[in-house]
Structure formats: structure tokens, C-alpha cells
Symmetry: C2
Subunit: 286 residues, 2 copies
Amino acid sequence: MNTAFQKLTMINDAFVDRLEVSDRGLAFGDGLFETLRLSRGCAPLWNFHLDRLEVGCARLGIAVSRAHLDASFQRFVSAIPAETNAVLKLIVTRGSGGQGYRPLKTCSPTLIWQCLPLADTAHLARDGVVLHRCQLPIYPNPNLAGLKHLNRLDYVLAAKDLPEIPDIQGLLLDHKGNLLEAIHHNLFFVKDNVLMTPRMSEAGVKGVMRRVILERIAPACSLSVREDDFSVDALIQADEVFLSNSVRGIWPVKEFEQKSWAVPGIVTAQIQSQVEDIFTGMVVWQ
Amino acid sequence: MNTAFQKLTMINDAFVDRLEVSDRGLAFGDGLFETLRLSRGCAPLWNFHLDRLEVGCARLGIAVSRAHLDASFQRFVSAIPAETNAVLKLIVTRGSGGQGYRPLKTCSPTLIWQCLPLADTAHLARDGVVLHRCQLPIYPNPNLAGLKHLNRLDYVLAAKDLPEIPDIQGLLLDHKGNLLEAIHHNLFFVKDNVLMTPRMSEAGVKGVMRRVILERIAPACSLSVREDDFSVDALIQADEVFLSNSVRGIWPVKEFEQKSWAVPGIVTAQIQSQVEDIFTGMVVWQ
């Protein structure tokens, strides 16, 4: 199998893999990113990623249009063989220029695409993962909450100390000890048939799959939803727990500290099935 | 005058100016930086910058030795003509590799040097600057407080909305409305002959020049020092206010909102003179 495309990189319109060191993405983390699943050559949630990028660019004041982002996506995907399964990563930076932190109004954004291998994680979707409580809290920052921006040192530091075992995923708490998310996933749990998820108003990354679940899948499954602040105790008392990610889909949680769950739970299986339909193209949302 | 060296860039040992896009410095802001003043070919505070880098690398778990950093500095400076005045910027990233946020233990750090022009700011050191209160607060993050790390979006967003007038500098407050620092400088003020500066235990960048002032210049000038939490009112009631930066030196503040000061104040002038002696090599500290 020819896998050369799995290292394909495009910066703006050029298929190169090196970036000028003056770029503000490197200097200050001045930008955003997305990772999206390419399933048999299609990125079924691209429009949802575009929505988040538009919101993020507006909040950071990065001048790039939805049409420009979409044209860049189309150009990159057209260079990848049809029917490919892969992960596409897009970094959008403010570009180069400015006096230190202060950007020039004329900065021209940099779009960086990478095509990366899609790991086979079917066993984790089937058998579930263990949640491990990270010691490092994530502090609130309403300036940036919800965005998938490039300032991710807190997540790196939290991840650094995790045991290197593939089925262990890190649970992040906020500074008050409330649930926030998992390191690479959003966190959901079910109690008495209500789907619960942290509201993430002051910190964390609001995932594309989180939005799909809340806005599309939960209504389709007639599930009540509650976004709120939750304690660790609420998690331990849950009937089911699962993690969501727009590349990896839905992973049931089988264990957290003293508690274990049979996986997948009924609601988790329902949501997994809906997500599978998205990835296989059986359901298309725009 | 040949100024080609002012665009000189070195990545690890190679004089190139483009970085692999897989570098974690770009992906996650996973690294640190320093900007240092090269005065007539010498960087008088390099050992202080090294101290801060060592502390930062230890806190982030980036494996790079002082000897390696110093050898890299020597190699870069030897490529710059003698007697040059410039700004040297060093970015130290964790390098490439890892599973998403979780770094590999074997990551090999990337050292990126840039030689940039040193702006002539003598008029600001002489005539002073105006402080402008930034609307965006800087939220506490004890995980990263004090470090000059690459996660600087808060500073970019605060700087973005400043008026584009050279002598206006942005004053950053914390989430409680207390003084923190200026966008590119640390903040000092004098009241009844005591030198005051925010203690910065939960946010902000503890500058090299700040340390030099607190540990070397203040004792040499028999000045009492107080690091504490201060309100904006304390600033308005100050006898003198100034900003410190290891490249730009000391800039007196001549105006903040309804208050103005004759510049430089007596203590400010004393400290400016000591800093000038450092930059001109008349005082050497190791």
C-alpha cells in the first residue's frame, strides 16, 4: 500500500513541510487547529469544523473567510488518493509580522495542512478505556474557553505524567475539582437516562463531536441533555460514561478509580451507532 | 552598513529559517523563549536568561542542558559580526513526536535562534511612555506562572486592541483587577522611596531585567523592595513609575489615565544609569 500521502503537508498553496520561524503560530501560539477524520476520502464533519474555525478566527481577530478555508481543504483533499482513511490536521495561524505580541492589521494568515495516519482503535471503541484523574488542574480562562487554539501547554503537562498504556485516558478537572473533559476527548455520562456533559464555560475545548451529539444525535435519540458543572462524585454515580472525539468517535469508559462499568452501556451503544453512520457516510449533515 | 546578519536564523546547528511543521512548538506552544540584547557583540545578561531557561525547561520537562544551550548561543553569536547591536531571540521547543499532547520521553528539543534589528528607543527612555489599561484581564495559571513560555495568546489579544501609537504601552491587570505587568515589560513603581512591583505568583512573565533590578540594582542603590499584590490606586498614588525589559532597558512612565509624572523620577534615573552600565559593559555580572 502506498502510504506516502500520509506525510503530505501543504502550507497555504504549496506542498512543503517547513514553516518560516517568524510565523506567529510558533512565536506565540497565535492560531487555532482542527483534526478531522477522513473516511474513505470524505470528511463528513468538515462543515462543523469550519463553523468552529469561523468562531475561533472571529474571537482571535484572524482574518480568514470560510470560503478561503474551504478552498484550501478542497485543494488538499484533492491531492490525497480516493477512498483514503486518514487524519487531516489543519493549523490556522495569524501569519507573520507585528511588533512583538501586537499583530499587524495586515497579517496574512497561514494555513498548514497535514495528512496523518488514522490509528486502528476499534478495540477501544469495543472494550472501553480506563479514566485516570490528572493531578494538574486546568485553570479558567474565559478569554479562550471552548476554542481549539494553539496554547496547549496545560494539556501537554497533564498528559506528560500519564501512564504510557494505550487504554488509559486522562481526566481533566478544573481548579475547583469539577469535571472538565478528557485530554483528547469530551466527557459524557448518563444518569437516569439523561445525558450529562460539563458546560465548559470557562475552560476546555468544545469538540465538534460534542456539538454533533448535543445538537443532532441526542434529539434524534430522544435523549434529554444537561450541560452543567459536575463533581467527580457525579461521574462515579453515573450509569454509563463515554468519551467523544471527532476523529476517534465514541469510546466507552469501563473504569474510573473504584468504579467499573459494563461496556458499552445502552445509551453509549446507541450514540456509537449514530456516529458510525456518520463516519460511513450513511448519514450526511450539512 | 551590511545588515544581512539581522535576518540570520539557526535551527539547532544549521543556518536555515524554516521549521518542520510537526514541531510541538508550533502544534501546542510546547516550549519557551528568550529575547536578549546584543550590545556591541556582547549579551551581558545571557547567564540570567540561561537561569530562567533552566527553570522553565525543568518545569515543562524539556530535556536540554545549560551547557547545550550555552554552546548553541556561542555558535550563533560567532556568526554575527563583532560590535553588532541587535536583538537575539531564542525559542526552545520540546521538538517533534508524541501521541497528540502526550510527548515522547525521547523528544529531542529544537533550538531556534533569530537575530533581529534593535530599534532605537532612546526617546522613550528619555521622554517616557503612556500606560494604557488593557480591557482583557490575564487569568491566573499557577501551572505556568512566571515562565516565558510560547502560550501567549492572552498577550496577543490584549495587545491587539491597543492604539497604534509607539509611546503607548499596555497595562495588564489580573482577574481581580490588581496590577500584573505591562505587555512587554515588568512594572515597577516607587512610593516613599520603596520600590514596589507585583509579585506575579499566579500569572505573568518574570522578566530577566526584573530579577536584575530586585537582586542586584536595588541592593546596590540601597533601595527597599516590596513584591506584593497592588491595586490600580496604588499605581496612581505612586511617586514614580517605570517599566523594565531586558532588551529595552528602563522606560519611565509619564502618564496613566488622570495622573502624570515628571520623568525620569529620581529612583528611575538611578536605575536607568545602572542598566546603562550593564548594556555598555561597564558592569559585568555572572
